[in-house]
């Protein structure tokens, strides 16, 4: 195995593209190193992206926030402006692992590890975040939900690296939230995760909404029917009931020791309702 730490994206993409054996990108390493140490993977090449210029930066731009691929969970949590604009995304990223894991883990790694239960992903999908991808053929930008295609599988092609995650600029009166259910209170894998993002008008009526579910399907799921149930309402009981029903209907979960199928379907609705109310409050609604 070789270890490389390039300083430009171009060099990194070329190394990955040229490698004939198994090549892996290393960000925080909190998934990759576990797989390496337990013998699940036997890489020929590891490309550490933490030395790439700009990979550790959180930038406020005219169109929102640009978060470099190597920014850790702890760094996200310490960024006051980002936390204020996207509290749901930051709280989701901060749920990943322990304080030790927070010191290293990244949202790009969480996304590319492609676990159905990845905590930051439903919040990113609800936020309409985009991934900026650099590869041997240049740059492209896709919606984050297009990256994972199944457990452990992504749509990234050989040599492609996520350079950054971009969060859009928010209209006034917007708020987001992420909640997960775990059997413990810390350090566990989501049985269900829900991200909700809403924008209200002056009267407190929902004008825009996005709802995404984690751990209830092979990939994180955007649920347009749940968003539709909220739009045009003040999130009264009927709207929340309809949204919860839409979330439950969108689930196709597995049965495992963490939760049965029926439990996950029910909890998806319950958590979505709670997350929606937190998002509304953060948006300045009642």
């Amino acid at each position: 195995m070789r270890y490389e730490r390039p300083t430009t994206l171009k060099a990194a993409a070329q190394m990955l593209a040229k490698e004939k054996g198994q090549a892996f990108i290393l960000a925080g390493g909190t998934d990759l190193l576990v797989r390496l140490r337990t013998g699940f993977i036997e890489p020929d090449l590891i490309v550490d992206i933490k030395g790439i210029n700009g990979s550790k930066a959180i930038q406020k731009t005219a169109t929102g926030f640009k978060i470099g691929a190597a920014v850790s969970g702890a760094e996200l949590g310490e960024h006051a402006a980002l936390k204020k604009a996207w509290p749901g995304v930051v709280e989701a990223a901060n749920l990943i692992g322990s304080k030790q894991v927070q010191g290293r883990c990244t949202m790009s790694g969480n996304l590319c590890n492609a676990s159905p239960a990845a905590d930051s992903v439903p919040a990113l999908v609800a936020a309409a975040a985009k991934a900026v991808i650099v590869g041997p053929k240049g740059k492209r930008t896709v919606a984050v939900e297009e990256i994972p295609v199944g457990p452990g599988k992504t749509s990234l092609k050989k040599g492609e690296i996520i350079e950054s995650i971009v969060l859009p600029k928010r209209p006034p009166k917007s708020g987001d939230a992420y909640l997960r259910f775990i059997p413990r209170t810390e350090m566990d894998i989501a049985v269900v995760g829900v991200g909700v993002n809403v924008t209200l008008d002056g009267k407190g009526i929902v004008t825009k909404a996005r709802v995404a579910l984690g751990a209830v399907a092979p990939t994180v799921r955007l649920v347009p029917a749940a968003a539709k149930a909220l739009i045009g309402t003040k999130m009264d009981k009927a709207a929340l009931d309809a949204m919860a029903a839409a979330c439950s209907a969108a689930c196709s979960p597995i049965d495992d020791k963490r939760g049965t199928r029926d439990f996950r379907i029910k909890v998806a609705g319950v958590l979505a309702r709670r997350a929606a109310l937190i998002a509304r409050k953060r948006a300045g609604g009642k």
Partner: protein, 164 residues
């Protein structure tokens, strides 16, 4: 040896070592540098026995490659006491009998110091959340929490004395 040459600072001192590309920082510390304070409990990021700081940030050294340490400042348990003078957390762990077998202790101390550096007056809940990445199979955690609370109290007192 097909090693990689790595330059770091460990507990403030410049250190140069050679390591294999797939060797973890934990293995480097223990097997090459004879810094055996950090322990290997799980090797998968779950137990925190291998806790160190990298540029001041709490990290599991089992989830960092030795090669990744290049150019960074590593803090280990060996750097916690000042010569013979134990850190207040170390003193309080002894006083409160917050250890039995001791395998988890260096990790808890590093994690607790990192917690108190950011939050000098944590609630019990904050301590328990802050230390959730450290597992102890002996003490039942309660004595550890008490020791951290007591050390935090002492450290606040001596800081305010220094400030006055």
């Amino acid at each position: 040896m097909s090693g990689i040459k790595v330059n770091t600072k460990i507990n403030g001192d410049p250190v140069e070592f050679m390591c294999e590309p797939d060797e973890t920082l934990l293995d480097v510390l223990r097997n090459r540098l004879n810094l055996t304070g950090a322990k290997e409990g799980c090797s998968t990021g779950d137990c925190g026995a291998c806790s160190v700081t990298v540029d001041g940030r709490l990290t599991c050294s089992c989830l960092v490659l030795g090669a990744e340490a290049e150019g960074h400042n590593i803090g280990t348990i060996e750097g916690m006491a000042h010569g013979e003078e134990l850190h207040p957390l170390q003193k309080k762990f002894i006083e409160h009998a917050a250890l039995q077998c001791g395998v988890c202790t260096p990790g808890f101390l590093i994690a607790a110091k990192s917690l108190l550096d950011k939050n000098p007056d944590p609630t019990e809940t904050e301590i328990r959340f802050g230390l959730a990445g450290n597992l102890c199979r002996c003490t039942g955690y309660d004595k550890i929490v008490r020791a951290v609370q007591d050390a935090a109290k002492d450290m606040r007192k001596s800081n305010s004395r220094k400030g006055a």
